[in-house]
Symmetry: C2
Subunit: 559 residues, 2 copies
């Protein structure tokens, strides 16, 4: 008997009731359809869309979860071979309009509110992240083409991408340029016909190649010969694996896969090392203007960052339901106060420490989903109300949804840019929103203590931020930002507390929600404030300390 981890998986990977609660009770997100831009949709249609996504996940994604993890993509003769179901997933997603769901009607899209697309993406990711990531990347790449590329390219790429026949990527990272994109060295040389010759390598490109599609459309960053150094000299190009020779005929564009990586937790999707222009025959088409590539890319990067945060949550959701199933089934020991060994053993979920661990998982997952959907909802509102302030605020909160490899970069971004921008206006808007929910929570006996706790911590956060600005002035930027990662962790803890107050408020104000359902939310809120919020205390202590430790210390002493 070999181990077979699939026996630990049940058939539940997310909580539909919780998702509905956030969409329709907490956010009332369907009300966004009253705006002209989204007026083709109504609540019933949106619910059907979620139903259809659920069904698709059940049929095409979840059944292949274990198999995709085991049979990993392979590199064979410069091409990456993936699991056969990827082809079905792409075509089916195309058929059902899922790839074009956010695109404007102008380019053949459905103009769906982003909050529902995000909810759908959560379901797909929880079912099988490796299976759905191709779809999300194709949406993001198509969105870049729609937004920044000349209209003549729309017809060439968008219909094929929306149909799931071609897929898209974001090709940024190079062996020497990961977090530091100013160091990109891939070159682009302008030709007489207005196209560019591309030469260089890109590495760690998610879904960078796949035999499940007829073509892979790379949105690639490169430096035009003679461009300024640093980020001000980076341009964006459309670089398809196969270029369009004439109507319907594809010809190889000198893009070759030279490596494949398998990332833990994501092994069904290929991570490619790509070579462009090995035979000096790789053509790229400029997107927008030269040297503005990085600002364009940040549209897709920002979407990808939300997606990374969302899918950290979706995978955690699936892991949580596997844990929960095990905790309910696994018998071990008895109640701690029970000494009689002849009594039957108890499911481990009845041990207090196991409950604590499950609540740790659950409150972060359910709270993060609430935050992520709220962010998408705000982005929908920003689109239809054209309120610049609202959009700032969206960007402000968005940053907290992300915990990927570059957590430290997000810490720097939060403390170094977002907190200070426009005189702290973004944070002010956020605080107003939080204070509104605190005021409501103070009205109810089961939340008023927690509301007071959060209010106090927000005051401490403001003091801390002022203190740190003093550090910036007196000691300089390196000292100011040295613990930005911890500041992000602190900020995120408080924001998550806010989400739980908000959900508890909805329950306290609802006359229709089921009593057990409400009690479950109150339990989670109580857990979060009792076990997680206290972690802010140590972070405050550290962040207010004037003992720098890591700044100015000789790195040779770390041996």
């Amino acid at each position: 008997m070999q181990t077979n981890s699939s026996v630990f998986l049940g058939d539940k990977y997310y909580n539909r009731e919780h998702l509905n609660f956030i969409l329709f009770d907490v956010l009332k997100a369907d009300t966004v359809t009253k705006y002209e831009y989204f007026s083709d949709h109504d609540k019933e249609a949106l619910q059907m869309y979620i139903d259809a996504t659920d069904q698709f996940a059940k049929e095409y994604l979840f059944p292949h979860l274990v198999e995709m993890d085991r049979k990993q993509p392979e590199l064979v003769d410069g091409r990456i071979r993936v699991h056969h179901v990827h082809k079905d997933i792409m075509l089916k997603s195309g058929e059902n309009g899922w790839i074009s769901i956010l695109a404007s009607k102008e380019v053949g899209g459905l103009q769906m509110p982003a909050v529902f697309s995000t909810a759908a993406s959560f379901i797909l990711g929880a079912a099988n992240y490796s299976g759905c990531v191709f779809v999300g990347l194709t949406m993001g790449a198509a969105h870049l083409i729609e937004t920044f590329a000349d209209k003549k390219y729309h017809d060439v790429y968008l219909p094929k991408m929306f149909a799931g026949q071609w897929q898209g990527t974001m090709a940024l990272t190079e062996p020497g340029a990961g977090s530091s994109l100013s160091d990109v060295v891939t070159t682009a040389e302008k030709q007489d016909d207005g196209t560019y010759k591309i030469v260089g390598q890109k590495i760690f490109i998610s879904c960078g190649d796949s035999d499940a599609v007829d073509n892979v459309v790379h949105l690639l960053l490169a430096r035009v010969k003679g461009a300024p150094t640093g980020t001000k000299g980076i341009s964006m190009f459309i670089v398809p694996r196969e270029r369009i020779k004439q109507e319907g005929i594809l010809e190889h564009n000198d893009v070759t896969s030279i490596g494949v990586y398998h990332k833990m937790g994501y092994k069904g999707a290929p991570i490619a090392h790509l070579s462009f222009g090995e035979n000096n025959d790789c053509t790229g088409w400029l997107v927008g203007e030269e040297n503005k590539g990085l600002s364009y890319m940040f549209q897709m990067m920002n979407e990808a960052r939300i997606s990374v945060g969302l899918h950290a949550t979706s995978i955690s959701s699936a892991a949580y339901y596997a844990s929960l199933k095990y905790a309910n089934e696994r018998l071990q020991g008895r109640n701690i106060a029970e000494k009689n060994p002849e009594l039957p053993q108890t499911p481990i979920i009845n041990h207090a420490d196991v409950k604590r661990m499950l609540l740790f998982q659950k409150t972060f997952i359910d709270g993060a989903l609430c935050l992520e959907l709220q962010c998408s909802y705000f982005s929908d509102l920003a689109r239809v109300t054209e309120g610049e302030e609202q959009e700032q605020y969206y960007r402000e909160t968005r940053i907290h949804t992300i915990h990927e490899g570059t957590t430290a970069i997000h810490g720097l971004d939060l403390l170094g840019r977002k907190v200070m921008m426009k005189g702290g206006k973004a944070v002010m808007f956020l605080m107003q929103e939080v204070m509104g929910d605190i005021a409501k929570a103070k009205q109810h006996d089961n939340t008023k203590m927690h509301a007071a706790t959060l209010e106090k911590k927000l005051g401490q956060l403001q003091d801390l931020s002022m203190h740190l600005m003093g550090v910036a002035q007196k000691e300089g930027v390196e000292a100011y930002l040295s613990d930005a990662t911890l500041y992000l962790e602190l900020f995120g803890t408080l924001v998550m507390g806010w989400q739980w107050l908000k959900m508890a408020n909805t329950c306290n104000e609802s006359a229709t929600l089921d009593a057990d359902f409400k009690d479950s939310k109150f339990l989670c809120c109580n857990y979060f404030f009792e076990y997680e919020l206290p972690k802010a205390e140590g972070l405050f202590t550290r962040l207010k300390s004037t003992n720098r430790v890591t700044v100015g210390v000789n790195s040779k002493l770390i041996d």
Copy 2:
């Protein structure tokens, strides 16, 4: 090009200077040789022993680290096949006396102080844990036979085990009895000749089978027919895979491998699912008396627990040196205050946040090693001074060295037993020891603030313990122990702070240690008190709260 993680590994996996510092400067562990029991050894011999271990690790263990992880053990026809080098490792360990190093001279052992054996084990584990775990288990099993089995079994098993020709295991866990050993159901039926027929299954048995040795000697827990229920009815048996038919002739003892597991981080060693007595032909030999098996097993279990804690540290050490190498080699970005993109990129170790993460790794690893060696040193002292109090104290601190799967069980053990035993005497001894180091640390400018911090926290810990005893009386044992895991975490944080003060004291008092070496220790001490000790604050807040959250709550609300 496929990924090859071996390129990230350097040739350093532990810090010999740090190890020497703990052994010879902080603990002065060689002074234990003044006692009669250890008088065959002297400082020079002990140093040579560490040298020889280092050399062995370099030649036999580290070179196979990556390969063992890739070529995992396989189950073929009821036998588990392992990497070929395991045979060399066992025989070489036997030849050099490493398996018998702790055993008494009476049974052919070397009577080495445990603190040096622990240091050696650390080196081997850092080089390749999967490669050295067979040796450690064989030592533990042999020690059980030496201590509790009738002398007539010594000659049968110990010479072969000490030579590395046979290996040992601890066979406790069953599919339905992991943490709850009172639920063991493997049966033993007494035969006319005084032996027992064994029938049952054991699962997750580390190194439970291997074709690298001629025989596997299981120290197995089973229930004699008619024995009392619960832990009071568990007996221990020697159950070899091959029984000794007559001098030198082995005959199969109806022990079959029916499954093999590969544990993450430990994939070169087989984890076996074993069946005993499928054909009703499995013989076991009773160790000691019937129904006392669990108390015997705790000798090996306690050794294994120290070993698990130690090897968590040794593997972390190897991981740390891989991180450090990468952080020194990987160029990315520039100093945060530097805007000129034409300057060369900097090694990431120069970023404050990377320093912080490296110091997080380093201070836990170096501090844990100091604690673990101190525990072994106390066990040596306990042996030679026969001071019962000293031995209690050893058991008290030992518990903190362990963070394996059963962390929660250790929390229960600490708060439910150790803290209270003999009226809190064990904790009192520990506190005296810590207060002595605090008093020293107050004498020096670079540690006096940290000493005051630790002193204050110890006072809070005493208050908390009193508070919790009140909870036990008023609300019962379930409420008292509900957050025992957090209590363990808090206790461990303070103990680790103590270790750093102790190391800093040694540096402050030494006239011979290198200045940079001392500065490195002071940096670590400063890091630990600035970044890690503040985490105690949130734990105090939670542990003093009267809001129970997880106790008495209906587990159906966790969904």
